[in-house]
Amino acid sequence: MGKAFILENTPLSDALRNCEQGGNAAECLNCGICSSRCSWFEGQSGPVPRKIVRLAQLGANDLLANSSMLWQCMLCNRCTEECPVGIRMDRVVCKARSLPQAGSLIPEDIKTGVKTRLEVGDVNGLTEEEFVETVEWLSEEFADEMGDPNAVIAYNQKNAKFLYLPNPRELGANVLHLTAMAKLFHHFGQPWTLSSKHTDVTNWGYFVGDDDVARKMAHQVVQDAEALGIDTLVLSECGHGFFVLKTLIEELIGRKPAFRVAAIAQIVLEMTENAIIRFDPDKLPEPAAYHDPCNLGRKSGVYDAPRKLLDLCCKQVIELTPNRRHAICCGGGGGILQDSTSKKLRMVSGKPKADQIRATGVKYLATSCLSCHRQLTELCKHYELEVQVDTVASLASKALVSN
């Protein structure tokens, strides 16, 4: 064993001890339940959840800040779902990631992304001009596709019913997803808009555990949406974005926003239940399975809406086992996916997911988070699974029947 570590009372242990919402590492029993439930593939030198909490419990900041486990953790909270004292791993890990000593461990891409987002409003650095240019071009294409000159993708429209907050990839690598969402909104028959100011549903402040940064990013979105006077902020299929803007928002900004927040899948389901839109499941005849994004499911309690929607769109839906509260993380959560150097790591962290998918024998996989979507796509390719991955909302768009 190496040098003895000097224990002392430290700011971290005090902060954790006084944190009531799951960050109470001081209370850890060291029962080891979390270690048995980690989504990581066992046998690999991945995170050992109990040890993370143990270091926090002791206030061993320097040991914690130097641990590779901090950025291997996917913040999926599967480990602490059965914690007997109610600790939540994402709270502990995020707090630890925010330690000044841990700064050097933050992946470069995440550092840059945070900086860019704060400066420009978009994590990929998409400027307002570029946004306007892209959206206007997309809007024209969309009108052509729909064969309807009234089918537009509007932005900065005041007092719209819906403000759609896209994932940055929808204005870059995956513009087709934005068009698919536009198709759904168009069929809702109510005014909807994008915002040129804050075009990004993500919040990497959460990944780095910096509450100030996370708050600033959330504020940008909230203030902009309130200025536009919209009724409902509709979040793109982004797990951690939903978790921050829906589940954590009040705690983060200290008040209720003046509008409703919902995930796109929830809104589509609502529209279906109100008989405003409908689907033809014959368009999606193959059995599909649903992957629970951790941020949406376990961390926010949204299990049913995406399933119900999928059930309406697809001919047959099957379950991965385990699912819901016990769902296995895709292996890309917690900021790992956002680190471009992490591919090799992600293929290890995602192996249990790949094994699970293989065991079901499905050909179609749906999820409701674009990060999960990308990770699952790469996993299927890497492990040679002939599985097509899609998001729930885009499947809904495909199965949509024009009235």
Binding site: G2, R17, E27, G32, R54, L58, M69, H326
Partner: protein
């Protein structure tokens, strides 16, 4: 009040309810016993016998014995499959409306709640997948498999099976609102592991645990022996996977050697499920006007119960079978005393109390309060008695204990004087030896926990390290006091560390104390090797370096102003000498009282001799009060003259040759010598085992001055003739019949008072008649109520076989317990 006019309703026919019913009946009360299930015995009946080559003291067989005793009682009415609809009180009497075969109203003067516990249902924890695999079972299910001898069917004859136990399923879990230790599960799993190793010699057993609760009578030595044969892993699993490896279940756990997790595969995973209040408890306690605690147990003290309402057994909190039985006896005794308090104080016989420490003081005070004249003998080792205001003999040293219960003669030296006193009963409460030795060079920086707890609050320094488990598994009372003190100090913004190997949270509120301590910032460092702890004086402080097992042995360094260490507990110096005067054996660890459950928790094979406190068991303040209450119950029963066996054998005046074999071998010291050295069997002290009858060379002892009166006529011409002990073999036969196990037509079961009662001649008679085979079905070694009486029978069997060259199939001794019906059936072809 005339006999059997006062009526008591006992709710629950498990171990506690049966014990209450039995004791109430002995007190002359009428009992209505209401049980929801279709059988008596509760959970205890489904428990398997844990004996290997000898009894392992689980107490499971005691339930069956109680069923047998209570079922035949004239003034106990039993209602099976009967539920309580309502319970009201009118004019001081209870009225219970119950539904069984038909609707009934039972009127009673008092009610005993003994509704017991239910094992935690692990299907509530969906990640354990126990609903989906038959390879994932609970300890309760394992008991059934063992009892019905189905473990081999399930696991195959494969000797090297891999089995995992996972502890604390449904215990110590705040999220499930079960933040208490279920107290019995560690012992259960250890005994199960031991049993499985007995059945499968090469089984690989792993026990995943949080903190093994290694406490209690002889359990330290048992655990130490077993720990060489099983793998103990700190850390429990909350997820079991199936089909990773064909036919196995997979547990993911930490690899303690590196920063990784690993998968281990097992043929069977056993979930060690906790105890929770039985389903009906909430409803019934509401009817009775009792508020349950936060977990649903009726743990409140007896004083706070509504008048006429009593509680017993696991409904009060997790207990073992033996404790539940004691609890039933205590409830019955309290009830009897409450209704006859005024008339009973007169005429009680004096009781001698040995010991001068705090245990003895409490015993003396409580017995005096209960109306027993007390003769206290202070050995001078401990001064507590001297300051207590209780009359006592100073520096008293017992020299001889003659006579029997209700009529003991106690010779002792006090100062220079030798005295002799007549007493009715004896309570040994001599405490344990507790020694403190500061670590080398740290005399000024270390003190004992006892001394620390006496310290004035303003003198307590700002940083303290409590060092538990220094002398082996810590004593639960010390662990509990440490948790309280540590939490209190941390609440005062002091720096507190606890060095420990396993945190004992044994006791209903202890897990909460532990939770509070951690929440307040007490840091617990887990050290498995005490030799790894390094201490150094740094000015006024002590610097401690210790490898933290929870971080893979990472050394942690911290300082404190004061090191607090519990004393080392060992049997008191005079234990051996006093034990031999009392003609009692000590246990494997050198403490008073054998571990034999037939006389636990407080009794002995010698009637009227009781043990209390640390001299014989690991107890805390709560336990000691329970023990004293149980002793009071035992004394009441003794002086009610209800404990005699009714029909003791007598020694023939003409035939006795005064060889005194009987006097020497009587396991209960029930035979005294009269003036002319004529032995006499004293009814009140005799347990009726009949060892003397079978052992008398002159055949002078019998029930009616006649010879061997066991019926061995074998009129039914049975091929197999079984002499079955009334507490084991005969009960196993009854249980086999209840379960529908066929014993065959050619078997004759002859119940006997004890295997030791079966003499050589008795064994041979059926063999010389029609029987092809004679079996003696007696208790496992260490489980015989009459000490080694059963072993005498085994010796006789060996002797006959050697002399007559008989084969096993012709004559054999079968060690069996009441809850081994299938084992017995298999032995009888």
């Amino acid at each position: 009040m005339s006999e059997f006019s006062y009526t008591v309703l006992v709710l629950g026919g498990g171990a506690a309810g049966l014990s209450a019913a039995l004791n109430l009946h002995e007190q002359g009360l009428r009992v209505y016993l209401v049980e929801l299930e279709d059988h008596l015995g509760g959970n205890a009946l489904n428990w398997a016998c844990m004996a290997t080559d000898a009894c392992e003291h689980c107490g499971a067989c005691l339930g069956a014995e109680l069923i047998d005793k209570v079922t035949g009682l004239e003034h106990v009415s039993i209602f099976l499959k009967t539920r309580l609809n309502s319970l009201t009180k009118n004019n001081g009497r209870f009225e219970a409306s119950v539904t069984g075969d038909k609707n009934l109203t039972i009127k009673a003067d008092a009610v005993v709640l003994a509704t017991g516990f239910s094992p935690f249902d692990p299907s509530l924890l969906s990640s354990l997948a126990c609903a989906e695999s038959e390879k994932i079972i609970t300890t309760a299910q394992l008991n059934q498999l063992i009892k019905m001898e189905k473990l081999h069917t399930m696991l195959g004859e494969n000797a090297s099976v891999d089995i995992a136990f996972i502890q604390c399923i449904g215990s110590r879990n705040r999220k499930l609102e079960k933040d208490y230790c279920s107290q019995v599960c560690c012992k259960i799993s250890f005994r199960h592991a031991n049993k499985i190793l007995h059945l499968f010699a090469n089984a690989n057993i792993t026990i995943y645990h949080m903190d093994l609760q290694i406490i209690g009578k002889q359990f330290r030595s048992f655990a130490k022996k077993l720990s060489d044969r099983v793998t103990l892993k700190q850390g429990v699993a909350a997820e079991i996977l199936q089909d990773r490896v064909k036919g196995k279940v997979t547990i993911i756990h930490e690899d303690e050697t590196k920063d990784a997790r690993q998968a281990s595969h097992y043929d069977m995973a056993v979930l060690s499920v906790g105890l929770q209040p039985s389903e009906k408890t909430a409803e019934i306690s509401k009817m009775a006007g009792i508020a349950p605690d936060g977990w649903g147990f009726l743990s409140g003290s007896a004083q706070n119960l509504p008048q006429g309402v009593y509680t017993a057994g696991a409904v009060k909190g997790p207990t073992s079978i033996v404790e539940a039985i004691q609890s039933g006896a205590i409830a019955a005794s309290r009830l009897a005393n409450d209704i006859a308090a005024s008339s009973k104080s007169a005429g009680k016989m004096p009781v001698a109390v040995f010991g001068g420490g705090s245990d003895a003081v409490l015993v003396c005070k409580e017995l005096k309060q209960a109306g027993y004249p007390v003769i206290a003998l202070d050995s001078g080792r401990d001064a507590a008695l001297a300051d207590s205001g209780i009359d006592h003999f100073k520096d008293a040293q017992a020299l001889a204990v003659k006579g029997v219960a209700a009529n003991y003669q106690l010779d002792f030296r006090t100062g220079k004087q030798i005295r002799s006193e007549k007493v009715g009963a004896i309570v040994v409460a001599t405490g344990a030896a507790a020694n403190f030795e500061a670590p080398e060079g740290l005399d000024r920086h270390a003190m004992s926990l006892d001394a620390f707890l006496e310290m004035k609050p303003e003198r307590i320094p700002s940083s303290v390290v409590f060092w538990l488990d220094r002398h082996g598994p810590e004593w639960k009372d010390y662990a509990g006091k440490t948790l309280e003190a540590a939490a209190k100090m941390a609440g005062e913004q002091k720096r507190v560390y606890v060095l420990m190997e396993k945190m004992l949270v044994h006791g209903l509120g202890r897990q909460k104390d532990y939770d509070a301590a951690r929440k307040k910032g007490v840091k617990f460092i887990r050290v498995n090797e005490q030799s790894g702890i390094e201490l150094a004086v740094k000015g006024k402080q002590v610097e401690i370096t210790a490898p933290d097992e929870l971080l893979g042995g990472q050394h942690l360094c911290f300082t404190c102003d004061l090191l607090v260490i519990p004393k080392r507990i060992a049997p008191a110096g005079e234990t051996q000498r006093l034990a031999s005067i009392l003609q009692q054996s000590v246990d494997q660890e050198g403490f008073f009282q054998s571990a034999n459950t037939r006389h636990r928790l407080i009794g002995s094979p010698r009637r009227g001799l009781f043990f209390a406190g640390a001299c014989h068991d690991e107890i805390d303040g709560f336990d000691l009060k329970e023990e004293i209450a149980a002793i009071k119950a035992g004394l009441d029963a003794l002086f009610l003259n209800k404990t005699g066996n009714g029909q003791p054998p007598v020694i023939g005046r003409q035939t006795c040759r005064q060889c005194l074999t009987c006097y020497r071998i009587c396991p209960h010291r029930a035979i005294i010598l009269q003036e002319t050295n004529k032995p006499l069997i004293v009814d009140q002290a005799c347990f009726g085992c009949g060892l003397c009858v079978a052992s008398c060379p002159a055949k002078a002892i019998g029930r009616d001055e006649d010879q061997d009166e066991i019926i061995t006529s074998n009129e039914n011409k049975a091929h197999t003739f079984v002499f079955a002990c009334q507490r084991s073999g005969a009960l196993a036969v009854k249980e086999a019949k209840r379960l529908g196990l066929e014993l065959g037509d050619t078997v004759h079961i002859e119940p006997v008072s004890c295997a030791g009662r079966v003499s050589i001649e008795t064994m041979l008679k059926p063999l010389f008649g029609a029987a092809k085979r004679v079996l003696v079905a007696g208790c496992h070694n260490g489980n015989c109520r009459s000490g080694d009486s059963g072993e005498h029978a085994q010796k006789r069997v060996r002797f006959i076989k050697n002399e007559l060259a008989l084969s096993l199939s012709e004559l054999d001794f079968i060690p069996v317990s009441a809850n081994e019906p299938e084992k017995l059936r298999k032995k009888i072809p």
